[in-house]
Symmetry: C2
Subunit: 215 residues, 2 copies
DNA sequence: TTAAAATGTTAGACTAATCTAATAAAATAA
DNA sequence: TTATTTTATTAGATTAGTCTAACATTTTAA
């Protein structure tokens, strides 16, 4: 395991990896809130440690070792979030910042015990899958609510960001993981949706529906 | 709140403070496992921040502000230890290292919730008192087992160190906080004690009895 | 297809926390 | 009370992580 800073770089690279796995220095710098040269020197260091592959003027990509490290941190983060909600009774909108700190705790016992107490959960409070100890992720086939056709009835299974302002809004609109909803109408002008949840109509903007996953 | 390093200095200075509150640089260096000049420069920095009072060639002493900071860290450490034992089911000999990390978590919500779930406890698993949010410590009048006369019956209320080898030994000897014991005989040669606990004789060395507190 | 814009790199400096080596002051013991 | 030992200080170097300014390469668009 590396330093706290190194862990945060690995985690951010993982989070920004798309199809190809390639991540640009600019995106990484924005995500980590540091300047470009800082990312540059840190990336070189991580390359020496074989956490990433790097060639000048190309993007950066995690190695298998780096991916495993990322998944280990993500496992700790998501277990912590679920633990904070289920066992400690905190709200899903307030646990992210605490989990951000707990994910760096070095103690397999601590997290394995959480896992046990939560009865080996598959997903965190935002519906994101929890990797197992070997870094395996439960496969997730899911679609954004913004892609679902009018008239369909679907179940909300995940949110794609866990930032407080977004979660606060969902709380206000009374949208939660596990809810079953029906798409009533899509407004062509701005892409907003009118949905029906247990008889009540709720209006959601496109910015919101793009970040809600359903099955 | 300062950096992790600063928090550890404050905590160590508090732990080493005796009657006068004065702590020597040498003791501090040994406790923190750094060299003397390191302590010297760090102490100057803490003095600028008004956490300690310092004059060249004199010892160092916490200010009221420093004491409050120390007690806030100790509160978090002890709540975490008790939480790990009572709620998460870990052994009292394995929680210290985890609490050592959790004590630096910045989240009043997290620790206040622990406090609630534990029903506002007065002491941690080692019998050490837990400061309240204002940094007030429940008064403790207690005496080392090594000071108790032969024939007396006393209750074990605390241990003065929470390092694994010591707690492992207590587990083996089946000595726990809350046990009631009777001092049978003190061996004059080495100060070891023969004590009686629910009919069984247990021999404890002076190194052990000095670290057990009773009332 | 070349000029402009975007992206990445290098050089050099800064802060926090640490170290070693040399020196100074205080405490202790001969 | 002086010499020795212990304790504290200063000076200067090192590493991790960050910065700004200047430069280089790649991509995009005119």
């Amino acid at each position: 395991m590396g330093s706290l800073t190194e862990e945060n770089y690995i985690k951010s690279i993982y989070a920004l990896s798309g199809e190809t796995g390639e991540v640009s220095f600019t995106d990484l710098a924005r995500k980590l809130e540091v300047k470009l040269p800082t990312v540059n020197s840190m990336v070189k260091k991580l390359a020496v440690k074989k956490m990433i592959v790097y060639a000048p003027y190309k993007g950066v990509k995690l190695t298998e070792k780096g991916k495993k490290e990322a998944l280990s941190i993500i496992r700790k983060h998501r277990l912590a979030e679920l633990f904070l909600v289920k066992v400690m009774g905190l709200g899903w909108e307030e646990v992210h910042d605490i989990a951000e700190q707990l994910e760096h705790v070095d103690s397999p016992r601590f997290f394995d015990r959480m896992d046990e107490l939560l009865n080996f959960p598959k997903a965190d409070p935002h519906g994101e899958p929890i990797p197992d100890t070997d870094g395996k992720l439960p496969a997730k086939k899911r679609v954004a609510l913004s892609e679902v056709a009018e008239g369909k009835t679907v179940k909300i299974i995940a949110v794609s960001v866990d930032e407080k302002p977004f979660l606060d809004l969902l709380n206000i609109k009374r949208i939660h993981i596990g809810d079953t909803i029906t798409i009533q109408k899509r407004e062509p002008f701005d892409g907003s949706l009118a949905i029906l949840k247990s008889g009540n109509e709720i209006i959601l903007s496109q910015q919101v529906t793009e970040r809600l996953f359903v099955e």
